[in-house]
Amino acid sequence: MFKELDPVLHSQLRLAVMSILIGSDEADFVFIREKTGATAGNLSIQIDKLREAGYIEVMKTFRGKMPRTVCRKTEKGLEAFEKYVEALRGYIGG
């Protein structure tokens, strides 16, 4: 029987954000925007959804005088991502 895909992760942009954070220790909002090609507004909404799900933590700091947003995955996010990939493999393998 196929496992259900996590709806929080089964979205192009949220999955892209989560994948970037899986491959790095932490990433700046600007970096994520560059790599995903998303608009700032849409990215903010999706990042907020991931944060509300407890999959990432968002830190607001300053770079000089400029505000900066840094994202980092949480333990819960890592587990959810691993389960999601496992479920995907099940679909492809099946």
Partner: protein, 230 residues
């Protein structure tokens, strides 16, 4: 007045597309060269090269035992610290993503710095504490005062070799790994030449050459690589 709620439909991904997207995004941060890293290598490269060159000249021109006081110049390495902090702070501000490799390399270079500081500080303290005790030393045994300093250069080069080799492999930047090999070979040669009458001068020259290969050349190449990526 009517309000319309605009729903943005996100494209649904197939399972295969999802896996492809994951792979692509995970790899996106991999080859991210840390901006300003070359300047850190150049700072320490030129500083250590300068100090070793001055020590070499002083060992050559100062008379008798007074020449060994030249080793106190190693304390000048502390001068690099404020500049180093400034460079690291600037790098942190410019850095948009921190990879695991960079995180681990931070630990490696912190461990390297602690190793160097413990050796140098230990030697400086030992020299200050022990020198008065050797006031009435018998003629012909004066070298015992400064003998431990002969170990400093091989120690430093061995640490350099370790940190440079690991950095070179982690960042997949060959000049750093090559610099590591140069430092290790230099360590081997210096220990093998331990009984050479001009060992102290040879040590400073070898340190200078190793720093050029291990720090200065890779530092310039890192900067060149960074600029070519802009």
């Amino acid at each position: 007045m009517k309000y319309f709620k605009i729903l943005i439909m996100e494209p649904l991904l197939s399972e295969k597309e999802s896996l492809e997207l994951i792979g692509r995004m995970i790899n996106s941060a991999k080859n991210n060269l840390q901006k300003g890293l070359g300047n850190v290598f150049l700072l320490w490269g030129y500083l250590v090269a300068g100090i070793s060159l001055v020590i070499f000249i002083l060992l050559l021109i100062l008379p008798g035992d007074t020449r060994y006081y030249a080793y106190f110049l190693y304390a000048l390495m502390a001068l690099g610290t404020p500049f180093h902090i400034r460079l690291i702070r600037k790098m942190g501000q410019q850095q948009l993503v921190k990879t695991y490799i960079e995180k681990i390399m931070d630990f490696v270079w912190t461990a390297f710095t602690i190793s160097i500081i413990t050796v140098l500080a230990g030697m400086l303290i030992s020299t200050v504490l022990v020198l008065p005790g050797f006031a009435d030393i018998e003629p012909g045994y004066e070298f015992l005062r400064w003998f431990p300093w002969t170990f400093v250069t091989p120690f430093m080069l061995s640490f350099y070799g370790f940190a440079l080799f690991v950095s070179g492999k982690a960042y997949q930047f060959r000049p750093l790994a090559t610099g590591g090999w140069v430092c290790w070979i230099a360590t081997l040669l210096l220990i093998a030449a331990f009984h050479h009458p001009y060992l102290l001068m040879i040590q400073q020259m070898v340190l200078l050459i190793s720093v050029i290969f291990g720090f200065i050349i890779p530092g310039h190449l890192l900067n060149k690589k960074e600029h070519s990526h802009v």
